[in-house]
């Protein structure tokens, strides 16, 4: 019998963003205490794994760092990304049924192009794991269910053009919380429309609301999509005691959701009620994923838990309807949108790096081709980075980008290099897992 759950626990007791920052050494201290005190690591249903360090190659399958990803990260990032890869290996090799990478630093606000730290994140550890699963194990269809209270705008950015990655995020409405995005109309670029499903919930939504949403929408969509792998971005800040958000979910709510979702791999994201929530939510998720009884995992202090407001479920029902429509009409919408835009689709982005005060503007162009999935080009300008103001022209080759597209793109790149407008001209090649300077 193989263990039900592989657990990679890495609390990074020597990594912080600043001494009083939510991402500080203390964050998983009480979780460690609770897990050790419960005897979680001794259970035969659970096998503990030590995280390995990811390679820069693993990062460059996803990210283009300006000037380079290596210059923007700390060793802790390689361990937390490596912890996800360790979890992925454990599941793919059949050593365990599922795995949970309970690691920090987190990643779901890190976008494809990285200029610095935003939303506590520098690199997107789930996205790195997704591309690793594809490169190493040939996994194609992957679903990510993001249960963090914040919209995972980094994951959305990275998978926006990918028809094989279904990204579903429920979160507190962006009009009331960082990062301010995550609305249903952000459903993917024309080639991947309907694969990015945002479910903004009203503040105060609790266990009832998220389970209503899961049962009424997320479960049926997953069943229809039939992913080979389900990943849970297991943020825990929907908890009623979280200091940064305003939701009403309990440890039981999270645990029973994990039980229903049955993710193949879960990855910790946010969650900053380090004393009152994390020890219980993590214990609950771990027990649920390990197929053990979690019914007694209840916060000892629920005095600040407010019942869910009446409007919350109304919003849920509205989302089930609206996003359900996007999902069922996605093929039709995709064909229409692709016909409309022709060979190119473009979006402009303004990105703020709250941690460092960096402002970045991007013009991202998807180049379509009849023979392959095409390629992307990104023109980016960032001010106030650790390296001053930076301008870069970036070309991104997918794993199936055809020779013709590659030739065209390299011609553009050479031209851009010549015109001297850019500090860097960078080529990301997912086949080679490299980012090279031209």
């Amino acid at each position: 019998m193989i263990p039900n759950l592989g657990l990679v626990f890495f609390p990074a007791f020597d990594w912080m963003l600043s001494p009083t920052h939510p991402e500080r050494q203390e964050r998983l201290l009480y979780t460690r205490d609770q897990l050790v005190e419960e005897g979680i690591f001794d259970l035969p249903q659970i096998r503990e794994y030590r995280p390995r360090m990811a390679d820069i190659k693993d990062l460059e399958r996803v990210h283009i760092g300006v000037p380079s990803i290596a210059k923007l990260i700390t060793p802790a990032h390689l361990v937390s990304a490596g912890g996800c890869l360790t979890a992925a290996d454990a599941v793919m090799k059949g050593e365990v049924k599922r795995a949970f990478a309970l690691v920090r630093p987190p990643g779901h606000h890190a976008m494809r192009v990285v200029q610095g730290i935003r939303g506590f994140c520098t690199i997107n550890i789930e996205a790195i794991m997704v591309e690793y699963l594809r490169a190493k194990y040939g996994v194609k269809k992957i679903a990510i269910v993001d249960t963090d209270v914040h919209h995972g705008d980094g994951s959305q950015d990275i998978f926006y053009h990918d028809p094989n990655t279904l990204y579903i995020s429920f979160h507190q409405d962006g009009r009331t919380l960082y990062p301010g995005t995550g609305f249903p109309n952000e459903a993917g670029s024309p080639a991947a429309w309907g694969m990015n499903l945002n479910l903004p919930l009203l503040p105060g939504t609790g266990d009832d609301g998220i389970h209503r949403l899961f049962d009424g929408l997320i479960r049926p969509i997953l069943d229809e999509f039939q992913p080979e792998i389900i990943i849970n971005s297991a943020g825990q800040d929907n908890h009623f005691s979280d200091p940064l958000a305003s939701m009403s979910v309990t440890a039981q709510g999270y645990a029973s959701l994990a039980d229903k979702l049955k993710a193949d791999i879960a990855v910790l994201e946010g969650g900053y009620s380090v004393e009152a929530a994390l020890p219980y939510v993590n214990t609950g998720i771990i027990l649920a994923m390990a197929g053990l009884d979690y019914s007694q995992v209840v916060e000892p202090d629920q005095s600040s838990l407010r019942p869910q407001g009446i409007n919350c479920n109304n919003r849920v029902d509205q989302l089930i309807d609206e996003v359900g429509q996007i999902w069922s009409n996605k093929e039709k919408t995709r064909t229409q949108a692709l016909n409309q835009c022709g060979h190119q689709w473009q979006r402009n982005k303004s990105i703020y790096y709250d941690e460092e005060g960096i402002r970045e503007t991007q013009k991202e162009t998807a180049h379509y081709c009849n023979n392959c999935s095409g390629y992307l080009t990104i023109e980016t300008t960032a001010t106030n980075t650790r390296f001053g103001n930076q301008k870069a022209y970036i070309v991104i080759f997918n794993s199936d980008t055809c020779e013709n597209c590659r030739k065209n793109a390299m011609n553009y790149a050479a031209k851009e290099k010549k015109n001297g407008k850019w500090d860097y001209v960078l080529i990301q090649d997912k086949v080679k897992s490299t980012v090279e300077k031209l």
Partner: protein, 572 residues
């Protein structure tokens, strides 16, 4: 190593009860003075212990210059490593225990403990805050107590605040138990399940242990030995008899511990090494670094249940010289059962030793008889050497697999910091050390398989008894301070008190050292330095402002040996 004169001058008596032999050794002035071997008496270890003891005292008299008669009264310390606790559990000769736990919210306790416990209401959280407390239900407890004389209590996070666990013990006083063991006093470390099981097993073997100690004391008095008597613990530390009564389960698995201490006394490796003590019944495998055996990061498993009993990072594999050998259609099986003595020595059935003798890897007994043993398993044209080689191969592979498993276990020990990952704690062995009768041949072959050099130190015949004789006393204690909540706690001492002013790491060290030294003095333990085993310090933040610190400190009088005895002086 600097050895104070008062330590060198001690006359130390060590006794080790093994599966086959009970060994006794007398060490004086840094050298083996006398040694003796006697058959282990399985059903009751005491007669065997006393026989070995009397033999070694006689031996000492013979060796002595006539003008210097050694007297039992000159012995300054006795250390016994016995299988009393191990056997009591193996044979199920333990007491029924009333177990009460305060589990609070969290994981279900079903199946975690050897018996279904009484679930007391009440809870302490991870910061040591009391979330709930409630008196016991006397009717239910009375029913469950039945005829039980011993009790164990344990509460989740009691190591952060013992108030609930103490209250529970107090509530149980009306039932007049002979003794109540409390989980958080036995171990100050986190892991509720392990502490609970440790308290349970301590209670289960308690009366057996009391009886053993009574008899030992009586026997010593009868022989005019008035030196303090210690018992060996699983972590390689020696503990005075009376102190051992407070934690009897710690005296489990002392054989392997004695073996490691023996190697430390005779030939501590100066490289990363794996030691293999190949005895009659088992091979005890341990890891070494910087001349010290590595301690396991987790407590031992007792009768299939996890405890907080500290041990070396060791495995006792059921492969030894006397291991039974069998042939099935899939090949040879070696161990784990013991077949008795080798046919080469007049035994009735083939053993691993017979195979080793046949291929000339060890040299004792009648090699013709050993060859006949091999012949019993030969089919068709097979030579006795072919058979012997196949048998030895199986044994070597079994040992290698166990080592691989141990290496794997070591490599997944928890890592909490980036620094842990970068520096790494992978164990790459550079040397094999073999002790014990069947070691020379077996370990040489293992060395060839693993591409590692092999050392076979001389004169390790009674290494275990030597290890016991030289074992240092140990004490372990933990301190946790929470400056926001303004208290510190030393669970092993049952102390919870307000923090002194200007609290920091050094104040924590002072407090814990003071307690350890006081405790050492109470048990008349030979003075030695305390060392820090673990230290953690976290800044706590509330609402974006620093609110205080959490400090965790674990210190010990380290296990080890009092001094080395030179190999030359040990060789016999």
């Amino acid at each position: 190593m600097y050895i104070p004169e008062e330590v060198m001058l001690l006359m130390l008596l060590g006794i080790d009860v093994g599966g086959t032999f009970t060994d006794a050794v007398l060490i004086d002035n840094g050298a083996i003075y006398a040694l003796a071997k006697s058959q282990t008496t399985q059903e009751n270890v005491l007669p065997g212990i006393l026989a070995a003891l009397d033999l070694v005292l006689d031996e000492a008299k013979v060796n002595l210059p006539s003008d210097m008669k050694v007297l039992a009264s000159q012995i300054t310390r006795v250390v016994i490593s016995s299988t009393i606790v191990t056997n009591a559990l193996l044979e199920g000769k333990t007491d029924k225990v009333f177990l009460a736990v305060m589990a609070g919210p969290g994981m279900s306790t079903k199946g975690q403990f050897p018996v279904e416990p009484y679930l007391a209401k009440g809870y302490i959280d991870h910061r040591g805050k009391i979330s709930a407390t409630e008196a016991i239900d006397y009717n239910i407890v009375a029913q469950m107590c039945d005829d039980k004389k011993i009790a164990a209590v344990s509460g989740k996070f009691a190591v952060r605040n013992q108030i609930n666990e103490k209250a529970l013990s107090r509530d149980l006083n009306v039932f007049r138990f002979l003794k109540i063991f409390s989980g958080s006093e036995l171990s100050g470390e986190l892991n509720f399940v392990r502490r609970t099981n440790t308290a349970y097993f301590s209670a289960a073997v308690y009366t057996k242990y009391v009886e053993f100690i009574k008899q030992i004391k009586k026997s010593m008095t009868e022989r005019n030995i008035d030196a303090p008597v210690y018992v060996l613990k699983a972590d390689g530390g020696a503990l005075p008899l009376e102190a051992a009564l407070e934690q009897p389960i710690e005296s489990i698995f002392t054989g392997p511990a004695a073996s490691v201490l023996g190697i430390e006394a005779i030939a501590p490796p100066n490289r990363r090494a794996i030691s293999l003590d190949v005895g009659g019944t088992t091979t005890d495998i341990a890891f070494w670094e910087n001349g010290q055996p590595l301690m396991a990061k987790k407590g031992a498993s007792v009768a299939g249940f996890n405890t907080s009993v500290h041990t070396y990072h060791m495995q006792s594999l059921g492969v030894g010289g006397d291991s039974a050998v069998n042939r099935t259609k899939d090949g040879f099986l070696v161990g784990p059962a013991r077949a008795g003595i080798a046919m080469a020595l007049g035994g009735n059935v083939p053993t691993l030793s017979d195979a080793l003798i046949t291929i000339g890897l060890v040299n004792f007994g009648d090699s013709d008889l050993a060859g006949q043993a091999m012949k019993l398993y030969a089919v068709e044209q097979e030579s006795t050497v072919d058979v012997a080689k196949a048998i030895v191969d199986v044994a070597v592979k079994k040992i290698e697999n166990t080592i691989d498993e141990m290496l794997k276990q070591w490599s997944v020990q928890p890592v909490y910091t980036v620094d842990d990952i970068i520096t790494g704690s992978l164990f790459k062995p550079e040397l094999l050390i073999g002790v014990g009768g069947a070691a020379p041949g077996l370990i040489k072959l293992l060395g060839e398989r693993m591409h590692l050099p092999v050392e076979i130190p001389e004169g390790a015949m009674v290494a275990n008894a030597i290890g016991a004789a030289l074992a240092k006393p140990t004490l372990v204690a933990t301190l946790r301070a929470d400056t926001t909540e303004d208290y510190y706690i030393i669970p092993e001492a049952g102390i919870k008190a307000k923090l002194p002013g200007g609290f920091n790491q050094y104040k924590a060290q002072e407090l814990l050292t003071a307690w350890l030294q006081k405790e050492a003095a109470k048990w008349q333990i030979i003075a030695q330095d305390t060392e820090i085993v673990a230290y953690e310090e976290f800044a706590t933040i509330h609402d974006y402002y620093s609110s205080g610190k959490i400090i965790y400190l674990k210190m010990q009088l380290a296990p080890g040996i009092l001094y080395r005895v030179a190999g030359r002086e040990v060789s016999l």
